[in-house]
């Protein structure tokens, strides 16, 4: 991304890379924005049902996941600082922690979804269609779509972080060329931020 392949002049513009990432974050926000609109419309139309359905969700796991993501946002933020301080080992360690936390988040999500599916609650399931009201069907439909899309973004974020860590390890991302790591951090914060909205919307508001 940061160099021209077809000619010899090496062009590195950290500012451009960062603007690019911010613009990409705008599009991601609008991608989720569409879903948040759908959520608010149906919450407004089915207040009772959304209230009932939300009680089915496990607030403890949700809260643990929230804390996990906040901590991981901190570790990746610190890693960009340690890179500036030329502490490569510590940077890689912090990135490792971030990745592990991301994976733990996904494992939690797996068990959370697993438990729901065991109870026969998944989009299109017979149990959901027969035993629940329309509002609750919508709630669980949105729950799966929004947390699922968010989990997909966690996976993308992890891949970007691993890629950045690899470059840090090789030394091509260093204190003078830190844009890739900073962009990975920005993206991870976005993933974190979206969860900060998903958590109260699905788990907390009653």
């Amino acid at each position: 991304m940061e160099q021209n392949a077809h000619n010899e002049h090496v062009h590195y513009d950290a500012e451009a890379s960062k603007i690019g990432m911010w613009l990409f974050i705008f599009t991601e926000l609008l991608l989720f924005g569409g879903l948040f609109i759908v959520y608010s419309v149906y919450r407004f139309m089915n207040q009772e049902a959304f209230h009932l359905a939300a009680e089915e969700l496990n607030t403890t796991i949700g809260a643990i996941n929230t804390v996990l993501l906040l901590v991981s946002s901190m570790t990746i933020a610190v890693s960009t600082t340690t890179l500036q301080l030329k502490k490569k080992g510590l940077t890689l360690f912090l990135l490792g922690i971030t990745v592990i936390i991301g994976v733990v988040f996904l494992v939690n999500k797996y068990f959370e979804w697993g438990a729901k599916i065991e109870h026969g609650i998944w989009p299109g399931s017979e149990h959901l269609k027969t035993a629940f009201s329309q509002g609750e069907i919508l709630f669980f439909g949105l729950y799966y779509v929004m947390t699922g899309l968010h989990a997909l973004h966690i996976i993308i974020g992890l891949i970007i972080i691993l890629f950045a860590a690899h470059r840090v390890y090789k030394g091509t991302v260093n204190e003078n060329r830190a844009a890739l790591l900073e962009n990975a951090g920005l993206y991870w914060h976005l993933v974190d931020l979206i969860w900060i909205f998903l958590f109260p919307l699905f788990y907390l508001i009653h």
Binding site: A16, G20, T27, N46, G124, L142
Partner: protein
């Protein structure tokens, strides 16, 4: 600046990189080569779209079944729409001329992210193949119309999923192009190229890029929801499960109306370059054109509801959307005044691009004013979902963007290929095309007013007169198209070598050799305080 000879040794067309031949093109991150890759892929898809359109017009030559049954007709207009919207007019001007010219116009050697630029093209091709897969596999081609309206889009037995996914990928390609252009325009302008010295085509690309970036993700998620609805039955748009199909329409048009401005803004930009060049006069109201560009980009977000006046919406919302629709027409009208005032007392050099630009203004005005008929609440109820709507948006999208594309290709052709085309044949092609266009779409206004609905393969006998004229028009138009394309293809190979600045234009792309060298500039140019893109004496 290059000497003519040195330029021919190492221009971007003949440049020999790591790979030879086709591989040298599809692995190139040179913005000019990527622009041409888009040109060829878009022209290929355009030809497919035209053939489908001709088939539809042939079907409508007579009432009842002429060459295809209802189901085939439904699939034909769906695929025609998907191809023309997502693969031709949305990427059209920005991906082809934006890629080729924008970096040169701002005095840069390439876009900010050349590899990302190439990736956008690959995504475009992937999207094309996904949509085409929907035609050849599964239970027949999609028949929902290009709008994929719920709930039919997850009830139809046809093979819709690849088409929806393809549209999503095409949207992603469009987002990345927009992102790339925004960063490029912000970061890579040459010294002295202030915002108030940017060529207007670059300004319109800038406005377009913001729309691509901020509107496309909304349709992206909407298409994802349709796919999930089909796969799992999530319920969000399914009335049987409590969902609301009207919400689908809202989300769809939140993107797809701004998308209309993605199509038309760069077209307006190209016209704003061509008219001063051939009037040989400073463009009238440079800042007014910029302001109206940004106003269109902004207000264009807020008018989506006018697609849904008959779909079920509160009266208040209808007034609001109708009012905003009238407001968004104002900046477009400002531009028309600017173009005409630029020509006024100019020293007009009548060439093929100017014929196209002038006919653009003509058809664009008819298209725009007929849009107000649809934007007004009472008249919309009368002509909604009739041939009138089809005539309106073909006047805007084909007449607007299509004519501007033709104007642009005839304007920048000498720069792109370093050769001139045969002007006589080019003018003849324009005339035939223009007559065909008017004959094809004008009767549809009349037919729509008389009540002929759109999207039917059949019609009542009373409508046959208009339909025969329209079908004849489609043949004339196709003839014009063949003349134009044959002329351009022949000229690209055998035309007389073009000068650096055959039209005596002042923008930067005409100050480099034709065709440009691989790096565009030997030295990054510097714009002096008194220089400007339209400084004609």
């Amino acid at each position: 600046m290059h000497k003519e000879q040195a330029a021919n040794m190492s221009n971007y067309l003949t440049y020999q990189g790591k790979y030879k031949g086709l591989l040298g093109w599809i692995t190139s991150t040179d913005h000019k080569r990527i622009g041409l890759l888009y040109l060829y892929s878009i022209l290929t898809m355009f030809s497919v779209g035209v053939l489908l359109g001709l088939a539809m017009k042939l079907e409508l030559l007579a009432p009842g079944k002429t060459i295809m049954d209802a189901q085939t007709y439904n699939s034909t207009f769906t695929v025609h729409g998907v191809i023309m919207i997502f693969m031709v007019v949305v990427p059209g001007l920005p991906a082809v001329f934006g890629n080729f010219l924008m970096p040169i116009m701002i005095g840069a050697k390439d876009v900010a992210f050349p590899k990302l630029n190439l990736l956008s093209w690959y995504l475009y091709v992937a999207g094309v193949f996904l949509v085409l897969a929907a035609l050849f596999f599964g239970n027949g081609a999609p028949d929902t119309g290009w709008t994929f309206y719920a709930p039919y889009s997850f009830k139809t037995g046809t093979n819709l999923l690849p088409a929806v996914f393809g549209a999503f990928v095409l949207g992603f390609s469009s987002i990345l192009t927009g992102l790339n252009f925004l960063v490029t325009i912000h970061r890579m302008r040459c010294p002295g190229m202030k915002w108030t010295k940017l060529p207007l085509f670059v300004w319109t690309l800038y406005g377009t890029a913001w729309i691509q970036l901020l509107a496309t993700p909304v349709v992206g998620i909407t298409l994802v929801l349709i796919a999930l609805e089909r796969l799992f039955g999530v319920g969000v748009f399914d009335p049987a499960l409590g969902g609301d199909p009207i919400l689908y329409q809202h989300l769809f048009w939140i993107y797809s109306h701004p998308a209309v401005y993605i199509m038309i803004l760069p077209a307006m930009g190209a016209i704003s370059e061509i008219i001063p060049t051939f009037a040989q006069k400073q463009v009238f109201g440079y800042k007014a054109i910029i302001a109206s560009t940004m106003a269109i980009a902004f207000v264009g977000y807020l008018v989506w509801g006018h697609h849904m006046f008959t779909a079920g919406m509160s009266g208040t919302a209808q007034y609001y959307f109708s009012l905003l629709t009238f407001i968004v027409a104002i900046p477009s009208a400002i531009k028309v005044f600017n173009w005409i005032s630029t020509m006024y007392k100019g020293s007009i050099n009548v060439q093929t691009p100017l014929y196209w630009a002038a006919s653009f203004i003509f058809v664009f005005m008819i298209g725009g004013l007929s849009g107000l008929v649809l934007g007004a609440l009472a008249t919309d109820v009368h002509v909604h979902d009739t041939a009138f709507v089809v005539a309106h948006f073909h006047y805007i999208v084909f007449g607007g963007t299509g004519f501007a594309f033709m104007a642009a290709i005839h304007y920048w052709f000498p720069k792109i290929y370093g050769r001139m085309y045969d002007k006589g044949w080019a003018n003849a092609g324009w005339l035939v095309f223009f007559i065909g266009f008017l004959a094809l779409y004008t009767p549809m206004f009349y037919l729509g007013m008389m009540g002929m609905p759109r999207r039917y393969y059949d019609y009542m006998k009373e409508f046959q007169g208009g339909n025969i004229l329209s079908t004849f028009g489609s043949w004339i138009l196709a003839t014009g198209l063949v003349i134009i394309i044959v002329n351009l293809v022949k000229s690209a190979r055998h035309g007389t070598p073009a000068e650096m600045d055959p039209w005596h234009s002042k923008t930067l792309e005409w100050q480099v050799s034709s065709p440009p060298s691989v790096e565009n500039f030997d030295e990054i140019p510097e714009i002096a305080e008194n220089d400007g893109p339209y400084n004609y004496k």
